[in-house]
């Protein structure tokens, strides 16, 4: 049956690696089933005929860097009913946000901003890259007019369910306890530590996390770890203040 009530969807990319776009194109059949509910009006990576807005839903990945990108982002917001950010860059600033700490004489550019620093964001899809299933779940919730909610448990919760041996207990660093779950602890499943790409959960206790890490790695490295995909603490503090 042909769905006559399709919503329009646009996928935009600002400065980033575009890995999230590839992540959602993975398992193409799944992406394809999405086309039963959404007409893709704008998706530069995959098509030439890109329509101007308005759109029902817009997904944005990356950080707005130049004036053009910031203007573009304002335009997207204006034209879209629902704006969803995708990936760590849009959410936390991404790996590039580290450059905000570099001496200004090297970098003749304004600080890296997150999408939420510039425009109002309706939903956040975290992760580097995003979890494809989570993206589709969010889009379907939006389609049916439901409120999409991110899981509010830590990566540890999923990690234990997956039967992984705890890295911290083995004396190895890991950011699982403060990081938002929903990734199915994919990194720890593959033997690596959690680098915190999905940002902090609401109840994150950074002081305690640092306390746990202190005997394992030096202070400099802890600072390093807590800022790979953006300032984890900054985002969390912003949320605490009801921002």
């Amino acid at each position: 049956m042909v769905n006559t009530n399709k919503k329009t969807l646009a996928i935009f990319s600002l400065t980033c690696c575009e890995g999230c776009q590839f992540a959602i194109l993975r398992h193409y059949e799944k992406f394809n089933s999405l086309l039963n509910f959404f007409d893709i009006e704008n998706f530069r990576l995959a098509q030439s005929n890109n329509e101007p807005g308005p759109y029902d839903v817009a997904i944005v990945e990356g950080t707005p860097e130049s004036k053009e990108e910031i203007d573009h982002l304002h335009m997207i917001r204006k034209q879209s009913d629902v704006l969803i950010t995708m990936g760590s860059c849009a959410h936390l600033g991404g790996i590039q946000s580290e450059r905000n700490k570099l001496p200004k004489k090297f970098i003749h550019k304004a600080d890296v901003k997150t999408v939420a620093d510039v425009v109002k964001v309706d939903y956040v899809l975290p992760g580097c890259p995003v979890n494809q299933e989570e993206v589709f779940k969010c889009l379907m919730d939006v389609y049916w007019g439901k409120v999409f909610k991110l899981p509010d448990h830590s990566v540890c919760f999923e990690c234990r369910q997956n039967g992984n041996e705890c890295l911290l207990k083995q004396g190895k660093a890991c950011l699982g306890p403060i990081t938002r779950g929903g990734c199915n602890s994919v990194c720890v499943n593959a033997g690596e530590m959690c680098f915190g790409c999905r940002g902090a959960i609401d109840q994150a206790n950074f002081e305690k996390m640092v306390e746990i890490l202190e005997p394992i790695i030096e202070e400099r490295e802890i600072e390093n770890l807590l800022s790979i995909f953006g300032e984890y603490q900054k985002e969390w503090k912003g949320r605490k203040n009801g921002k």
Binding site: E18, R99, F106
Partner: protein, 416 residues
């Protein structure tokens, strides 16, 4: 004519060409993506974070960045990877090549030649072609997922080895798909060989990795058709990187000379080292030994795609036969500097690191393939003049875009 972001390429780029008396007088390709200063961000971070962060340079080629970075960092910290680790990485790179080539060939390039505007239309109008893309991409994603732990931004491959070895079930799953995928890859070569590509001829220096025994992609020295042969660590003596005022991406040259890297260069230089089945196919199809038309990069990619499917089969078969040994991730022995070069889908990628005595990065330098062929792309846009003559503006734009797509630039890589 000037143009906004070129659709269907990796990253944002636009181009500007100036026509004078029917000839392209000026051609500029501009990266629109913001610079992320990845090389500077890494300074002050612990050595093991280099592959984690550099893989985020690009979403379509994270595997090659993470692998090249791991290898360079291993040299810097005095680790020599085990044979098994190296073979697993080779398999990862096979996955990377197929991922990138099949996506580029079918979803970005094919619509140009089938008279449709997007991969979605391709899916509607030519489902048989579209399904090939999906099949190849899925196979490649599976390899990267089984070996690396995730299809985009793989996880397990780290400085010192693999944090987790692939399961035999995983390897078996890959092997089940071989026959079907190899057939599709062969058809892919036939299909792209049957297209009539726009024709321009030019003479240009090719540069790629070279190995006396095999079709080099993971290791080897850099060889050029200008007669150079050098080790990765000497790259600064040969590959000059410079800033161009109008571009956010840097431009690199071979000691000031324009060069071309990527599938077309690899094929033209190492054709005889391809898998025997591939060679017999290209002989049968009467495909040239060397390519001199930049549009033929597409065909070179299709041929490589087939080669890497067969190569991945050999490696997986080997592991299924011999099994995998449990190995510990090796610890650093000394702290100094290291360079490595691998063949990315788009050409030779260089990573160079220096670390202090505590293992923190003090210097990082990355030269991406796109940066090395941007001057060649501008040069070839000028060579398009005869094809642009007497055409309408939108047709001209189309042809220039087709050339840009044939080069397969990755602007996110170029503006790291």
């Amino acid at each position: 004519m000037a143009n906004n972001a070129v659709p269907k390429i990796e990253g944002h780029a636009s181009f500007y060409t100036h026509l004078k008396n029917g000839r392209v007088d000026k051609a500029r390709v501009m990266g629109l993506e913001g610079e992320r200063f990845v090389e500077k961000i890494l300074v002050g971070r612990k050595y093991y974070q280099a592959p984690v962060i550099t893989s985020r340079i690009c979403g379509i080629c994270p595997v090659i960045h993470s692998t090249t970075s791991t290898r360079a960092m291993e040299t810097a910290v005095g680790i020599s990877a085990s044979k098994q680790t190296e073979t697993l990485r080779e398999l990862l790179l096979c996955g990377q090549m197929i991922q990138s080539h099949s996506l580029h060939l079918y979803l970005l390039v094919a619509p140009d030649y089938m008279g449709v505007s997007s991969s979605f239309e391709l899916q509607k109008d030519h489902p048989e072609i579209f399904s090939k893309a999906v099949e190849l991409k899925k196979y490649a994603d599976l390899i990267v997922e089984v070996i690396g732990g995730r299809a985009v931004h793989p996880i397990s491959n780290v400085v010192g080895g693999f944090k987790k070895l692939p399961s035999s079930e995983g390897l078996e799953k890959i092997s089940e798909q071989f026959d079907q995928v190899a057939e599709t890859a062969e058809e892919t070569v036939r299909f792209f060989a049957s297209l009539s590509l726009p024709e321009i001829k030019r003479d240009i220096i090719y540069s790629s990795l070279f190995d006396t025994k095999k079709y080099a992609y993971y290791s080897g020295d850099v060889k050029t058709t200008a007669g150079d042969l050098f080790k990765a660590e000497n790259y600064t003596n040969y590959v000059y990187e410079e800033l161009v005022p109008y571009n956010r991406a840097k431009f690199a040259t071979l000691q000031g000379k324009t060069m071309m890297v990527g599938a077309i260069a690899r094929y033209s230089m190492n054709r005889n080292k391809l898998n025997k089945e591939v060679i017999s196919l290209i002989d049968k199809l009467k495909i040239k030994d060397k390519f001199d038309n930049p549009f033929e990069n597409i065909l070179a990619q299709a041929i490589e795609n087939y080669h890497f499917v067969l190569e991945s089969k050999n490696i997986v078969d080997y592991f299924l036969r011999e099994g995998l040994k449990k190995e510990k991730v090796k610890e650093p022995k000394k702290m100094s500097k290291g360079t490595s070069a691998c063949e990315a889908p788009r050409g030779t990628l260089f990573h160079h690191y220096e670390v202090d005595k505590d293992g923190y990065i003090t210097k990082c330098d990355i030269i991406t393939p796109t940066v090395q062929f941007l001057p060649a792309l501008e040069y070839d846009i000028k060579n398009l003049s005869p094809l642009l003559k007497g055409k309408k503006k939108n047709e001209q734009t189309e042809i220039v875009e087709m050339l840009i797509r044939a080069f397969d630039p990755c602007i996110t890589c170029a503006t790291h």
